[in-house]
């Protein structure tokens, strides 16, 4: 299976909306942290970088225990910068496309691997998922342009559609900006973008966490059956 060479996980934020007092990548779902689950999905990617900020020492210790050859990148200004800044720091100096994902997402493995397989060859490639979160960034997409790709035409916080931006993308070097705004506002400048659907559950609120837990339980049941 083809896979990406570089991946950056943004895990610097405070996770205040969830309010568990720890970084969201450290939140356990069915006994395993989100970071643990994401690193398993990225085990074939040779260069995995984790951007840390809030409670960095805890996250660093946990990450190195899970994967010894991970690269930790610090974002000391995590309180005042966006996820785009964490991504930019994480992939700084890279000369190849890189996969970017937020550290607070549970992915259904098959759809994640399908994305990884296409990521580098088709960068820029962004992921979309069935709309479900409270503060979704909806995407308007064309019909499929060629399996498995769609074409994303616009982002919106207000005009609801069945799809939202999944906070997963593979982008060529130089596309993200230092000290920029939100990631989707940067991506907006490159629309239309090739996109691929994934099954994913972002954990921003308690309701999101419940949805992610239910999904993980369903997958476990399916595997047991």
């Amino acid at each position: 299976m083809q896979t990406a060479r570089h991946a950056v996980i943004a895990a610097a934020g405070l996770g205040t909306r969830l309010g568990l007092g720890k970084p969201k990548c450290m939140v356990s779902i069915a006994g395993r942290t989100i970071l643990d689950r994401q690193l398993e999905l990225l085990s074939d990617v040779p260069d995995v970088r984790l951007v840390v900020g809030y409670l960095e020492h805890d996250v660093i210790a946990h990450a190195l225990q899970l994967r010894r050859d991970i690269t930790i990148v610090r974002n000391p200004a995590y309180r005042t910068t966006t996820t785009q800044q964490s991504y930019w720091l994480g992939a700084r100096y890279l000369r190849e496309p890189c996969v970017y994902l937020d550290g607070d997402i549970i992915f259904e493995p098959q759809s994640f691997f399908a994305f990884l397989e296409n990521a580098e060859a088709h960068a820029p490639l962004i992921a979309i998922t069935a709309a479900k979160t409270d503060q979704a960034v909806f995407t308007m997409n064309d019909r499929e342009i060629a399996q498995p790709f769609l074409r994303t035409l616009s982002f919106s916080r207000t005009d609801s559609t069945p799809w939202e931006w999944a906070n997963l993308a593979c982008l060529p070097p130089g596309l993200l900006e230092e000290n920029g705004g939100s990631v989707f506002s940067r991506l907006e400048q490159f629309l239309p973008l090739r996109s691929q659907a994934v099954v994913s559950f972002e954990v921003d609120t308690e309701a999101d966490l419940n949805r992610a837990e239910a999904f993980v339980a369903t997958v476990a049941q399916r595997q047991a059956a």
């Binding site: 040779p46 190195l64 010894r68 050859d69 690269t71 930790i72």
Partner: protein, 202 residues
Amino acid sequence: MSSTAFCFDLDGTVTLKEILPIIAAEVGLAEEIDLLTQMTIRGQIPFEMSFRLRCRLLAEIPVDTVAQIVEAVPIDKAIAGFLQDHREECYLVTGNLDVWVERLVKKLGCALFSSQAAKRPDGRLGALRQILRKSGPIRELRARYTRVVCVGEGFNDLPMFEEADIGVAYGGVHSAAREVIETADYIIGDGVALCRLLDTLS
């Protein structure tokens, strides 16, 4: 002007073990040296004084014997490979004494910034000429290179991290000190991952 210089701490970064305790163990002074090291880490005695004391304790061992012990200290294979491939851009920056580490450094094949001491005619350690503060070499290299990357883990690496363009806290041998992590841009726990990162910076 060349592009990037790479500066490596020696003890516990390039070497898989701390050098001073190994020398001390050879002459039955392991506990004494360890006590001094712990007190230095806790900030109970200043680094320079601690270093002078440690040198005094080990001064009776012939310099060549120490150099031989140091030469045999195991080194990180991935880092040794990187040093060999980037000889012209790599520098070892160590508070250790030139007369003790010279043989090891020759084996690694790159340039050295270190503390300096004289060797007496009887082969014992003479006077300390200079105790290296690690900010000096970085400042010097910044004038010659567009970018200086430093790799280290301990307290005495902090001046190096403060001057360098990019700091990599390396915990391959033991966890990097908290203060070093808080001054670093990157934290790495594995030699292969370290060299992969350094390759992207060269």
